[in-house]
Every structure is written in C-alpha cells, then in structure tokens.
Symmetry: C2
Subunit: 400 residues, 2 copies
Amino acid sequence: MNCKITNDGFDVFESVKTSAVRAGIKRKGEDLALIYFEKEATFAAVFTTNKVKAHCVIYDEELLKTQQNIRAVLINSGNANACNINGAQAIQDVTKALSTVLNIKQNEIFIAQTGIIGEEFPTKKVTNALAKLKNNLGKNSQNLARAILTTDKIPKIISIECEYAGVIFHIAAVAKGAGMIHPNMATMLSFIVTDLKITQNILKVALKEAVDKSFNRISVDGDMSTNDTVFIASLNEVGDLINEENEFYRYFVDKLTECCVYLAKEIVKDAEGATKFCEVLVFGADKDEDAQKVARSIANSLLVKTAIFGKDPNWGRIIAAVGYSGANIDVEKLEIKIGDFLVYSWGRPQEFDKIALLEYMRQNDSIKIYINLNIGASNFNLYFSDLTYEYIKINAQYHT
Amino acid sequence: MNCKITNDGFDVFESVKTSAVRAGIKRKGEDLALIYFEKEATFAAVFTTNKVKAHCVIYDEELLKTQQNIRAVLINSGNANACNINGAQAIQDVTKALSTVLNIKQNEIFIAQTGIIGEEFPTKKVTNALAKLKNNLGKNSQNLARAILTTDKIPKIISIECEYAGVIFHIAAVAKGAGMIHPNMATMLSFIVTDLKITQNILKVALKEAVDKSFNRISVDGDMSTNDTVFIASLNEVGDLINEENEFYRYFVDKLTECCVYLAKEIVKDAEGATKFCEVLVFGADKDEDAQKVARSIANSLLVKTAIFGKDPNWGRIIAAVGYSGANIDVEKLEIKIGDFLVYSWGRPQEFDKIALLEYMRQNDSIKIYINLNIGASNFNLYFSDLTYEYIKINAQYHT
C-alpha cells in the first residue's frame, strides 16, 4: 500500500487538461488558468466562513446545490471579485463566454478567484483571453500552479499514485496561499482531482474531513479572506463506486488528507516573509475546543511570532498566550516544551540547557512547541509561521 | 466646571511622595519606584483577565479582599515576577522589608510589577535599594513615570484640578504601556490618586467604569500580559464623602474617565514601533458585543495594521475583517468611511477622491475608520496602532 509521489499535478490524468495564460489582470505574469475535464466529473467544495463573500463563492455555493457534475474550473488571480460593482454580472458574462468557447454548459463551470478586494472585475480582459486559454490546454500543471499565485513565491503541487485492494488510483492537487491565511478554511485556494469512483455526497464528507485536518490547521496572520475555496473533482475512472464510508473510503480519506497536509505545510513554509515553519501541538485539554483555543492563541500571538523570528526561546510569551486563550487551564499542571526542551512544568520553570535551546531556535527552519495542559484527553495541532520585516514590507506595499 | 490640566502627576498632592531609584533589575536606568501616602488612603484596583497571573496580581487580589486602606505602592520594571520559582516568597520578603523601612504595616503595601516573565525575582537587589528609595521620597512624579517604563519611549503622566459644587478636587495618574497591549485591561500599569472623599466600594465601581471606557479600548498587538494592573487611591481630603452614585459621583467618574482616556491614548501613540494612532468607531450594531467584535477584528487585523503603516487606504482588508469578526452583519447595509471618505455603502464601493484619501493617509498621524452596520443601535470605539518594522525589531530582539 505504498504511494508514489510526484509533482506532476493533474498531468497524471489522461482526461484532464490544464492551461494558464496572461489576461492582464495582474501587472505582470500569468493570471488566468483553466482545469478542463474531457468528460463530466463529480465535484464538491468547501468555502470561506467569512460573512463577506466574494462573488465566486456565492456563485459556487449556489452551483453546488443543483449540480453534481462539472467540466471546467476557471481560476484568476489579481482580482478577488469581492465587494465590487460588477462582480455577479462578471461571473455570468465570463462563464457564458467560456461555455461557448469550450462547448459545454454554463452550469458546468466552477469559478475561483483571488486578488484585490473591491476593484471592478475586468470582464473584457478575461473573455478576450478565453480562446487562447482553450488553445493552450495540455499537460501544463506546473504553469497552472504558478498562474494562481499572488504573493506566493513557490508553486504548490503534488500528485500521488496509490493502490488499495488491487485498485490503483491517483490524487493530484495544486494550492495557493501566502497571506490572509487563517484557520477555518485558511485563506487560500486549492484544487484537487482523483480518478477514483465516488459519489458526490461521499466526496463532500471526505473533503470536509481532509480540510479540517489540513487547511483548517494553518495560520499565517489570522486574517481570513473572502475567497477561500477548496475544490475536489472525481473523474470516476477506477475502482468500484464508493457510496458509503467503508474501508476503501477510509484509505482514500487518509491519502486525500496526506495531500492536503502536504499542501497546507507548503503554504505555511511559503507564507509572506516567513523564515520559520512552526507547529504547536496541544495535548491534554479538557475539550477539543479548548485544545484549539490554546493552539490558535499561540499561533496568532504577535509576540510569540516575533520571538521565533528573533530566534528567542521566550516561553514567557507562550505561557501568556496560553493564559489569555480563554481555554480552561490549570497553571499548576501546565507543561511547555520547545523542541525537546522542557521549559515549564507543574507550575514552575525548569532547568534546561539554554545554549542548546538557543542553538535549536537558530539552526532549525522548523520549530515545534508542545503544550500539555494535563487536565483532559483532547489534542490539537496547528502549523504557523513567524512574523518578520518581510511580512510588513509585503503587506504595507501591496496596494489597493 | 472647567479643569486645569498639568503633567505634575502626584506632585499636586501635599501628602503623597514618590521616589524612583535604580535597583539593578533592568540592564540600565531606574527600575524601582514608590508611591508613599503620608496617611491611610482608600484603594481599589482592576487586574488582567489572563488566567496566568503574575505573583503581584495574585497577591494584590487577596489584599483587596481584606484591606480598605493602603500606605504605599511599590512598582518595579525589568521583572514581571510571573511563572518563576521564587515569586510568592519574593513578595513576602520585599513587602516585609519595605514595611520596616517605611514603618508601616506589611498589608498596607500594594505591589505592581512589569518586565520579563519566568525569571527568578532579584529579591536582594530590591531590598537593598529600599532605604535609598525611602530617602529619595519627594515630588518626583516625572521620575516615577519614567522608572515604570519598559519599551515605552515617553512617560505618561497627567493631573487635573476640577471644581464641582464649590469643591475643588484633583485626579493625578501615571501609566506604562508599549507592548502586549490588548483589550480587556490592556496590558499595562496605571496608578491613579484623587483627594476626593469616597468609599472603597464606590471607588471600585468608578474605576471599573473608567477602565472599561479607556484602557479596555486600546489594542497594540492583541497580546494580554500576566501583570495588567490599574490602581486607584483616594486621600479622602476634600468634599463630602461619596458613598452612593449621585451627581457628584457622575462628575467624578467623567473626569476620572477623561484622565484614563488621555493615558490610554498616550499608550497607543507610544506603542512599540507605531507610526499612526488609529481609532475605529463602530455604529449601528445589533448588540454591544457585536459592535466590539467588529472593532476588535479590525484593530487586530495584521493586514489592516500593515496597510495603515503603508499609508494605503485598503478598505478591502477592512471589509474582510468585518466579515470574519463573528458579528451579525448585513453586507448590503454595511457602510465604511476612512476619515471623511465614504468608501463602501449599501453593498457596493463608492466613488471618492482617491488622491485626497491617499493624502489623508499620508499626512495624518491619526487615522479614523468608521463602520456603520446599519442594523441596530449599539456602538463601540477602539484605539489601536499600526504594525511596523520597528515593532518586529523591538520584539524580535527583546530577549528572555
């Protein structure tokens, strides 16, 4: 049951073609991408929980209520198509034009968008680029992964080949992150495709579980965007149809989760200005909710984030964040470890090798913080980034 | 009913003496301060809501339960006396030594501390400095205001002389802030003295109201310390005793609130690395709680804070923060103003003079954001700072 992992993305599927072109939405580079399914694909998606939603999210949520199958996903960067004047109409115009170009139905098109909020959507630029987008269709997953980026530096792409009970199936995915990255559907886009036969209902449940264990466990800046979308499609090409939660389903969800965790970690590693990839692991909480509260409080603490950037094992800031998290805690039972170093335990600071801990902070790109509340059985883990000069630079200069 | 405002601090009171010396807790400068009352003063205080509390907070909370009067307040910077090995004992040793030096009772001493968490408290250094601290007592409020600072740049001090119904009374106060500044008793210290006759119970109620409208409405970085304390004492020298909420009481609370708001604003202006003093005013919320949620969501958004630092009127980030605040909102009714510029109203962006708004962002040290949810009658305002390179520098380098 080993898996083969590559960064071929959707190129592993014969019936999936991708394309990325420059439509001129962003100041430079490719900004319009297409995933095209040669035959109908079952689809599901999860979206931002922000009450201010981009027009694409509003549109897709409606689409999901009536539609089981999809033929195309159109993605643009450079314009979030949120809180603007022409957003809803733009989606009508663009999907209509694309349906003509691809000779598919308008309601077989899923839309995802990222970029600046509030600006008029450049419908004309996009419709003008659709013919080129179609002509360019091919095995272009790397280009697609690049075209959906905004301030990300590195494309995020994966494909895995797995075997279970003699059935060989694939999962491939791309993602975009960088900033406005927060729990609850971290502000990002991801597109996932599998060739495994699976019903829409079961696909929905599987996606929700995988996202909860991956994209919902990352935090860059605590800001949540209006456009978060994770999309999944099944080509229904291999295996017996999964229409209930059985053993094969469990295996599939595990592998799907692995792909999502890989991409989620890539997003944090490539977070705006980040120099450290951090993980906080909370154990022994009273309730799941409390474990989450503690993890999020630490991951969102500017003082913890800047201390990690400064390579400073400042556990005082960590314990303060535990204290104001709102979770039920008992200071006398609290245990804090940074890497392998126990710094606080049972109500008092511990003796540890300070030089060695400083070295750990300095020499590792990846920092782990363990919190044991020692009062219950609930756990939670969260990936996050440090807070740096570069983050300020990127976000003070990224202009409306 | 006009007031005279000076920055004399406690020097306006004949019977209050202050002192500040160097005990050697911090690397340099004065770090130990004393407020001494020549006769018993009625006192009250409010503290951090962080579940991890410094030993001084634990000590003072107990003191407040049994004690009505106070003779001295001892304050140190450089060591938070929190989560360390000898903290509780240190307070016993230090208050005992000080009671001998000042010839007062041990339980007439209130303690406030700020600085690094987790380090052993240097009891010896403090007790060694007590005699000098006593000898130095005098009209030293400016020195005291300086000695309680950590990363603050500017001492925060005020005194006002008011008259009501023929009674002339004073309120004087100092504060310390800079970082770890958050709602819910913003992470800071403040000491307030009045000469007005007032009972302890009424003083408590008055302090709570003033703090809710001032120190609880500021945010620098969303982090809440283990040491927050606002202390108030009355010398009971002028007026008839206020022992219930009457008109004189209302006047007193208004003036007390004014002092606290002044200091709260000073704290935000002097926030770590801040270049802009910002205020968000939320109107028309369904519930008070929702108005607060929206204000705090905006004030704590790293993307809003960095946009303001970048002098960028990026209202897209503001509307996103409104959306994920958790408050009940209706996007179609939402109204956003930056300064006098209406940028979003009734579900769509508005035409405004972009050049003029950019000039407003560039030329003003003080930026206002108005949010009208237009669905109810609840309001809330919050003062906050921008997020800058300097904040990162200060906090990446402030070492455990």
